[in-house]
C-alpha cells in the first residue's frame, strides 16, 4: 500500500457517476478516484526456469499452459470426428473402424470437446490470461492454488488420454455416460475405460474448482481503483458468470461420477435397476437410472452456458473494438448474461423429454427453456445494433464475430424447435439435434475463440497474426462448417438417427447417402483448415509483424500494460487507475477515436462520454 493515499481520509462511496455528481464534498476534483483499499499484492517471484515456465504461479503463463493443453485435446477430438465422418460418409472404407471403435470415438469426441477443450480453453485459458489484466490486478489472488489447478487439469487430461491405451479401450457409452449400459459389458470400454473417464472427470472438477475460486475472488475482491463492476469489460462478465455456474454445476457431475464409480467398482446399485444379462440375473437392483440423468443434466445444461457465456462476453468486446463503437446496451448485456446464467439452472430436464418423465414436468421445463430465448435474443439484437452504422473494420477478428452471430442465431432458432416437447419428441436422437448443438455450442463458441486468438495474439506474443492466412482460415471454416451442419438439419427431418454406426441399406435412407458423403468431405476440409491456423500461429511467433502497443486501439486495461507482452506483475510500478468503461469509441468531441479506461476526465473535457 503506497503512502500517498494515507492522508486521503474520505469515506467510502460508490464510484458511479450518479453519486459522484451528488452532494458528497470530496468530488470537486473531477479526476477523483477513491483511495486504495487493498494493500499491494504480495507476489511470488520465481527464480528458476522450472518455477517460471513449468510450475508457474503467474496467471498469464498458466493461461497459456491451459490454452495449449486444451488445444492439444481439441486436436485429438478433431481427429476423432474425422474418423467418425469417414465411417458415416464412406462405410467400411476404413476397416479399422468397427462399431465398437465408432462408439468410443463418439464418446471421447463429445467429452473432450465439451469439457476438456471448450471449458478449459475459455475459463482456464482466456480466464487466467485476461482476468488479472482486465480488472487491473497484478495476478490472481491465490497464485499457488491457481498453479495447482492447471496441474490437476493436466493430470485429468493424462488420465483421459491413458484410457485410449488400456485393455478394452476408452468408454463407448456416449458422452452422457448413461447407466446402466455405460458400466455393463455390452458397451465398449466398460472395464477400465469408464473408470478412467470417471476418474478424469472427478480430477477435472477438483482442479477447476481451485481455478474457479481464484477467478471469482479476483473479479469481486481485487479490482483496481476506479474499476467498478459496471466498468468491467463484458469479457470479464461472461467469464465471471460462467465460473459461478461452474462452481454450482460441477458438484452434480462430481457426485454422479463418484456414485457411478462405486456402482462399477463396488457393485453398489445407485443407478442400476434389476438387470438380466444374457439370461443371468446380475447382483444389481433397486437403483434409478433416471437419477443419473437428472444429476448429469443438472451439470450438463449449465455446462452449455459455461461455454456460451464467455463467448458472449468476448464477442461483445471484439465487436465493439473492431466496429469502433460502444457496445449497445451495456447494462442490458450484463443483466442478460447474469439472467441467462440464473435461468440455466432451471432448464436441465429439457434434455430428458424422452426419458419417461411426468408430462407436466416436461411442460414446466419447456416453458423455462423458451424463456431463456428472451435474454439471448436481446444480446443478438444488441450486437447487431452495435454494428449498425458503425465504422466496421473488416479484418479477420470482425469476420469471425460476424460468423459467430450468424451461426449462433441459426443454432438458437433450432433450439426453439427442440425446446418444445411436441416438436422435440420426433426430432429426439436424430441428426437435427446434432446440427443444433454443434451450431450453437460448437461452431459459434469456436468462432469466438478464433476471433479472440486473432485479437489477443498480438498481446500475448507481441506480433500480429497473418491477415491473409486468417481470411483463408475464416472462409474455409465458416463455409465448411455450414456445409457440414446445415444438411444435417435435413437429415434429422427425414429421420436419420444419431449415434448409428452405419445406416445400411434402409430404403428411406437412400436419399441421405450422397449428403453424408458431402458432409464427410466438408468435415475433412474444415478440419484440415485448422492446421492453417496452427501454421499461422507458429510462423507468426517468429516472423509476424511486430504489434507494438495497443495495435487495435482498444480501451481496456490489458493493452495498457507497462510492457507488451505484459510481464510478471502486469502493470509495472503503479497499478492503473480507471475512470471510465472500456467502450468509449468515437466519442463526439474527443480528438482520437478512442479514450482508454485510464484517461482521466480532465484530459477529455469536451468529450460527450457516457457516464459510467
Amino acid at each position: 500500500m503506497s503512502d500517498e493515499y494515507n492522508q486521503n481520509n474520505t469515506p467510502l462511496e460508490t464510484q458511479s457517476s450518479e453519486t459522484m455528481s451528488g452532494s458528497s464534498g470530496s468530488t470537486t476534483d473531477i479526476d477523483y478516484v477513491r483511495p486504495a483499499e487493498l494493500p499491494e499484492q504480495d507476489l511470488y517471484h520465481s527464480h528458476s526456469w522450472i518455477t517460471k515456465w513449468v510450475f508457474c504461479q503467474d496467471a498469464k503463463v498458466i493461461g497459456v499452459q491451459y490454452f495449449l493443453t486444451a488445444v492439444f485435446t481439441g486436436i485429438v477430438g478433431l481427429v476423432l470426428s474425422w474418423l467418425m465422418r469417414l465411417q458415416l460418409g464412406f462405410p467400411e472404407l476404413v476397416p479399422f473402424i468397427t462399431a465398437e471403435h465408432y462408439y468410443q470415438f463418439v464418446t471421447m469426441h463429445g467429452m473432450i470437446m465439451v469439457v476438456y477443450f471448450l471449458t478449459a480453453l475459455f475459463l482456464g485459458g482466456f480466464g487466467n490470461y485476461l482476468i488479472p489484466l482486465m480488472v487491473g490486478a497484478r495476478d490472481m489472488v491465490f497464485p499457488y492454488v491457481n498453479m495447482v489447478s492447471f496441474w490437476m487439469f493436466f493430470v485429468a487430461v493424462c488420465v483421459l488420454m491413458a484410457s485410449f491405451f488400456v485393455p478394452g479401450g476408452p468408454t463407448g457409452a456416449g458422452w452422457t455416460l448413461y447407466p446402466p449400459q455405460a458400466i455393463l459389458p455390452g458397451s465398449p470400454g466398460a472395464g477400465m475405460g469408464i473408470i478412467l473417464m470417471l476418474t478424469s472427470l472427478s480430477l477435472f472438477v477438483i482442479g477447476f474448482t481451485m481455478g474457479g475460486l481464484n477467478y471469482l475472488v479476483t473479479i469481486l475482491q481485487a479490482r483496481t481503483r476506479g474499476m467498478t463492476l459496471m466498468r468491467m469489460p463484458l469479457t470479464i462478465w461472461g467469464i465471471f458468470t460462467a465460473t459461478a455456474l461452474a462452481m454450482l454445476a460441477f458438484p452434480a457431475l462430481l457426485v454422479s461420477c463418484i456414485m457411478m464409480t462405486l456402482d462399477k467398482v463396488l457393485e453398489t446399485s445407485f443407478f442400476m435397476p434389476a438387470i438380466i444379462q444374457a439370461g443371468e440375473v446380475l447382483d444389481y437392483g433397486g437403483g434409478s437410472p433416471v437419477l443419473f440423468q437428472h444429476l448429469f443434466w443438472f451439470f450438463g445444461h449449465p455446462e452449455v452456458y459455461i461455454v456460451a457465456l464467455p463467448a458472449f462476453g468476448i464477442v461483445s468486446d471484439l465487436i465493439s473494438v473492431h466496429a469502433r463503437k460502444n457496445i449497445f446496451g451495456y447494462r442490458m448485456m450484463v443483466w442478460a448474461i447474469v439472467g441467462i446464467g440464473g435461468l440455466s439452472f432451471f432448464v436441465w430436464a429439457h434434455h430428458m423429454y424422452v426419458s419417461g418423465m411426468n408430462p407436466w414436468f416436461g411442460f414446466f421445463f419447456a416453458t423455462t427453456t423458451l424463456i431463456i430465448a428472451v435474454p439471448t435474443a436481446l444480446k443478438v439484437y444488441n450486437w447487431i445494433v452495435t454494428l449498425f452504422r458503425a465504422n466496421i473494420r473488416m479484418n479477420t477478428v470482425m469476420l469471425f464475430c460476424l460468423g459467430f452471430i450468424v451461426t449462433f442465431v441459426n443454432g438458437g432458432i433450432t433450439g426453439i424447435f427442440l425446446g418444445n416437447v411436441a416438436v422435440d419428441i420426433p426430432l429426439s436422437d436424430t441428426y437435427f439435434v446434432i446440427a443444433h448443438f454443434h451450431m450453437v455450442m460448437g461452431i459459434a463458441p469456436l468462432m469466438v475463440i478464433m476471433g479472440a486468438v486473432y485479437h489477443w495474439f498480438p498481446l500475448v506474443a507481441g506480433r500480429m497474426l497473418s491477415e491473409k492466412l486468417g481470411k483463408w482460415h475464416f472462409w474455409i471454416t465458416f463455409l465448411g462448417a455450414y456445409s457440414i451442419y446445415f444438411p444435417m438439419h435435413y437429415l434429422g427431418f427425414i429421420g436419420v438417427p444419431r449415434r448409428y454406426f452405419e445406416m445400411y441399406d434402409s430404403p428411406y435412407m437412400a436419399s441421405a447417402i450422397g449428403m453424408n458423403e458431402f458432409i464427410t468431405v466438408a468435415a475433412l476440409i474444415v478440419g484440415a483448415a485448422q492446421f492453417i491456423f496452427i501454421y499461422n500461429i507458429i510462423t507468426s511467433l517468429r516472423v509476424g509483424k511486430p504489434a507494438g502497443k495497443n495495435p487495435w486501439k482498444a480501451n481496456s486495461l490489458e493493452w495498457l500494460t507497462s510492457e507488451v507482452p505484459p510481464v510478471h506483475g502486469n502493470f509495472g510500478e503503479k497499478l492503473p487507475v480507471v475512470h471510465r468503461w472500456p467502450y468509449d469509441f468515437n466519442v463526439p468531441g474527443s480528438k482520437e477515436d478512442f479514450i482508454t479506461q485510464t484517461t482521466p476526465p480532465s484530459e477529455v473535457i469536451d468529450a460527450e462520454v457516457e457516464k459510467t
Binding site: M1, Y5, Q7, T10, P11, L12, E13, T14, Q15, T19, V33, R34, P35, A36, E37, L38, P39, D42, Y44, V141, F142, Y144, T209, G212, L213, V217, L220, Q221, A222, R223, T224, R225, M227, T228, L229, M230, R231, M247, L248, F250, P251, A252, L254, V255, M259, L262, L266, E267, T268, S269, F270, D283, G285, G286, G287, S288, L291, L295, F298, V578
Partner: protein, 234 residues
C-alpha cells in the same frame, strides 16, 4: 489501508447496493481468503445436497424395505439396546469442537497465541475423536454384515448410501483434522505473529487463517447435522 474508514459503512440494502456499485472490492473489508472459503463452501454445499437428494430419491423408491435405523444404529449397554447412543456422543463431540474452534478464532484475533493454539489443538482432538468413533461405527456395521453392495437388514441401498455419504463427510473431517494439527503447530511456533511465509504457498501467515479454517470446520459440523437428521432420525 486503515484510513479507509471501513467501520462507518452504511448498512442495509442501500449499503449493499453502494458496495456493489463501488470499485476494488464488492465485499468491503473482507479478506480475500475468507471470501474464497465462503464460495468453496457454497460449492461444497451443492456437493452434499446432491448426495443427500440422491439418498432421498434412493430411499423413497427402493423396492425392499429400508432398515429400522433406531435398531441398526443402537448400542448394547449392559444388554439393553440404546438407540442412537454412539451417534449422540459423536454429534456432541463434533458440536463441542465447533465451540472450541469459535473460541480459537476469538483468541486469534486478540493475538493471544497460547490460548488460540491450545484451542485449535482441542478442536483437532475433538475431530480426531469423531473420526475414531466413526471408524468404530463402520467396523461394527461391517461386522454385522452391512456392505456397500449388500445389507442383511433390508434395502441394499442403505449400505451404499451410508458408507458413501458418511465416508465423504468423514474425509472432510479428516482433512480438517490434518489442517487443525498443522495450524496448531504453526500457532504454537508463532508463525501468525511473525508472518512467516507458508512452505507451499509462500504467503505470509496471518491470524485470519484461523478464521478461514474455522469457517470450514463449522461447515463440516453443519453438514453433519443434516446427515444426522436424514440418516439417523428419518
Amino acid at each position: 489501508m486503515s484510513d479507509n474508514n471501513l467501520n462507518n459503512l452504511p448498512g442495509g440494502f442501500k449499503g449493499m447496493a453502494q458496495d456493489m456499485g463501488s470499485d476494488q472490492t464488492a465485499f468491503k473489508g473482507v479478506q480475500w481468503g475468507k471470501f474464497m472459503m465462503w464460495i468453496f463452501l457454497l460449492s461444497d454445499t451443492f456437493v452434499f445436497s446432491c448426495f443427500l437428494i440422491s439418498y432421498m430419491k434412493g430411499r423413497s423408491s427402493t423396492v425392499v424395505d429400508w432398515p429400522n435405523t433406531s435398531e441398526v444404529f443402537s448400542l448394547h449397554v449392559g444388554g439393553v439396546p440404546v438407540p442412537l447412543l454412539l451417534i449422540a456422543i459423536m454429534t456432541f463431540v463434533l458440536i463441542t469442537s465447533s465451540g472450541t474452534m469459535a473460541l480459537a478464532v476469538k483468541y486469534g484475533y486478540e493475538k493471544n497465541k497460547k490460548m488460540c493454539a491450545w484451542l485449535v489443538l482441542a478442536t483437532a482432538i475433538g475431530g480426531l475423536t469423531f473420526v475414531g468413533m466413526q471408524v468404530f461405527e463402520w467396523s461394527k456395521l461391517i461386522h454385522e454384515g452391512v456392505r456397500p453392495w449388500e445389507n442383511p437388514f433390508g434395502a441394499k441401498q442403505f449400505g451404499s448410501f451410508f458408507f458413501m455419504i458418511t465416508g465423504f463427510h468423514g474425509v472432510h473431517v479428516s482433512i480438517g483434522v490434518i489442517f487443525l494439527f498443522i495450524f496448531a503447530r504453526k500457532t504454537f511456533r508463532g508463525d501468525f505473529d511473525t508472518g512467516k511465509r507458508g512452505f507451499f504457498t509462500s504467503q505470509k501467515s496471518d491470524y485470519v487463517a484461523i478464521e478461514i479454517l474455522g469457517l470450514y470446520w463449522h461447515f463440516v459440523d453443519l453438514v453433519w447435522v443434516f446427515i444426522f437428521a436424514f440418516f439417523y432420525l428419518w
